[in-house]
């Protein structure tokens, strides 16, 4: 509905709202340039006195940034790869392959989406800690200390498969015409070959969407990584590390450094999001299809 009159009220509403959305981010950026003692000085000033990069240096020297980045990249990379692979294979099976139990398994996948993640926090922590044969554990998962929990695997293990991902891919694979798949079968192609050379290329857009959703979710993961890095600090990811920058004794002094850290950690995701926004937004819309 585009009325002829200029919708000034709508403009006002949206613009004021947008200001409330953007100003906190600008405050983060501007504060990250404020010098020592500048934050907390009254009266409040939005802009820094001059653009000083010292806080970025401080964030880098106080934290092992290369390690934080490496951990975040490892965790996100493995999770995205595994989610795409398993979701695409399972989605193809549930959409196009004929076998007994397909309907039941599809319902099972839908049911997995009903359980909120917090339910699994405690049991997954304990399951990884008592993983048989890892970290000195015996075959019954007892005896050792930490099991898989102290290894890099702990970072990504709970994020390897996504029920929503399987559902999403299944909905897209269903749309591929059966004739193409049948023709390939008659030509003697195996199912793995059909999956790789027909299903994967045909669902490229959906795979990008799912990859992007997974990337953002896992990169920003906080609670699980916080737990894992209290067990083994070497496993610390960016969000957890940044939180360490603040000093509880004098927050006013360390705040600009925290903000510099936040800019460093949020920038990669913001850039990826802005570049591939179209795919991300489609994914969010599709999650509304459930």
């Amino acid at each position: 509905m585009k009325p002829r009159r200029f919708p000034w009220f709508s403009y006002l509403l949206v613009a004021v709202g947008a200001l409330i959305m953007v100003v906190p981010f600008l405050d983060m950026v501007f504060t990250s340039f404020k010098g020592p003692g500048e934050f907390g000085r009254l009266p409040y000033r939005f802009l820094p006195e001059d653009f000083d990069f010292a806080n970025y240096g401080a964030a880098f020297s106080q934290l092992d940034m290369p390690r934080l980045f490496a951990n975040s990249i490892l965790m996100t990379g493995v999770a995205v790869f595994s989610t795409l692979l398993t979701a695409s294979l399972a989605g193809y099976a549930l959409a196009k392959l004929r076998f007994r139990g397909r309907a039941v398994l599809f319902r099972f996948v839908l049911a997995t989406m009903m359980f909120p993640p917090f339910l699994f926090l405690i049991p997954n922590f304990l399951i990884l800690a008592n993983w048989p044969g890892a970290g000195g554990n015996d075959l019954f998962g007892a005896g050792g200390y930490g099991g898989l929990l102290t290894t890099y695997a702990a970072l990504f293990m709970p994020f390897l498969v996504s029920g929503f991902g399987v559902f999403l891919m299944r909905q897209f694979v269903v749309a591929i015409p059966d004739e193409i798949l049948e023709a390939a079968r008659i030509d003697g192609a195996g199912e793995l070959r059909i999956w790789w050379s027909i299903v994967v290329p045909q669902t490229k857009a959906a795979l990008i969407t799912l990859g992007l959703l997974t990337f953002v979710n896992v990169w920003n993961e906080y609670i699980w990584t916080l737990l894992v890095s209290t067990v083994n600090p070497d496993l610390m990811t960016l969000p957890v590390g940044i939180q360490l920058l603040q000093s509880y004794l004098d927050p006013n002094l360390t705040q600009p450094i925290v903000m510099a850290g936040l800019v460093i950690s949020t920038l990669p995701v913001l850039l990826v999001f802005l570049l591939l926004q179209k795919y991300y937004i489609r994914g969010m819309m599709l999650s509304g299809l459930k």
Partner: protein
């Protein structure tokens, strides 16, 4: 919210005509093998990280266990549930009431704002640009969102108190005053979740046929009454979906609490998820924590059903 069971109808009629029965059966068998092979990583994962944990959580909630050695687990029946739900337990009040207030406040705020803004955006130019701005918090880690707002609220140098001081109001201790702490966190939760609500509502708004509005215009309806009498009623299924998903998210959310307040001051912002986390990972009361998780899950389940029931009763066909 439709298209779920609209799976592909019988496949391969063309092939069956061409090939003989024997090779068809062989192809079927091969497909079944391939299907189980393709599904095996997913099913294995759900077995280890979904089914097993659920059983484990139920088992733990019925026992006392100090950690480490699983052979020293002691079965105590419903004692944990009795303890956390008893009168005078801090889990019921203030923690569960906080959880409900937190979720209700955040959802109400986000819903009203997102309906108004999603509707307004459809009337502007550069729709995509505006929506992107509202979407920024969704792709930002909760650590950043929490810290940014923590310092916006800061009494001695934050932006909000700076603005209040500029108009002559003295500083408010937003996060350290028990009366303002919970509402302050609620605002942040709503701020952070408004983007996805706007996105899904936009899809719902675009699905409303133009003809309704044109008919309204012929009758001389104002924009305002068109919004009340055409847009809102037709948006109801989408609103229900947004409301339910936002409630589920808000009821379990506690990352923001960890970052901003650690449940303080004096339990004023303590919510069920955070208490569960503390009981398990700080105090090692795995049984009590698991019982809390299951109670919270039950609460989420009941609230979801209540919303569905309420909307259905009002004569709305959803999904």
């Amino acid at each position: 919210m439709t298209t779920l069971n609209g799976s592909s109808p019988a496949t391969a009629p063309t092939a069956s005509k061409r090939s003989r029965r024997g090779s068809l059966a062989k192809s079927r068998r091969r497909q079944a093998w391939a299907a189980w092979f393709f599904l095996s990583p997913t099913l294995l994962f759900f077995g280890i990280f979904l089914v097993l944990p659920l059983l484990f959580a139920i088992g733990l909630s019925l026992s006392v266990w100090g950690g480490f050695d699983l052979t020293r687990i002691e079965f105590t029946g419903l004692d944990n549930f009795g303890a956390i739900l008893s009168e005078g337990s801090s889990f019921v009040a203030p923690i569960l009431t906080n959880t409900l207030l937190f979720a209700f406040g955040a959802v109400a705020l986000a819903l009203v704002a997102s309906v108004a803004i999603a509707h307004a955006i459809t009337r502007l130019r550069f729709e995509g640009f505006w929506r992107t701005l509202y979407f920024l918090p969704i792709v930002t880690t909760v650590v950043a969102v929490g810290n940014i707002w923590k310092y916006l609220y800061e009494p001695g140098g934050g932006l909000i108190n700076g603005l209040l001081n500029a108009v002559g109001i003295s500083s408010v201790q937003f996060l350290s005053d028990p009366d303002t702490a919970l509402p302050s966190v609620v605002v942040v939760q709503a701020w952070a979740s408004i983007g996805s609500a706007i996105l899904i509502l936009t899809a719902g708004l675009k699905a409303i046929p133009h003809t309704y509005y044109e008919a309204g215009e012929l009758d001389g309806t104002t924009a305002w009454s068109a919004f009340w009498h055409i847009t809102l009623p037709l948006l109801r299924p989408t609103l229900l979906f947004v409301m339910i998903t936002q409630f589920i998210g808000a009821l379990q959310s506690f990352a923001l609490i960890i970052v901003m307040t650690s449940g303080g001051p004096a339990n004023a912002t303590n919510v069920a998820g955070f208490e569960m986390y503390q009981q398990a990972f700080r105090f090692g009361s795995w049984g009590v924590a698991s019982a809390m998780a299951l109670v919270l899950f039950a609460v989420i389940f009941v609230i979801t059903l209540l919303q569905l029931w309420f909307f259905r009763r009002k004569g709305e066909e959803t999904s």
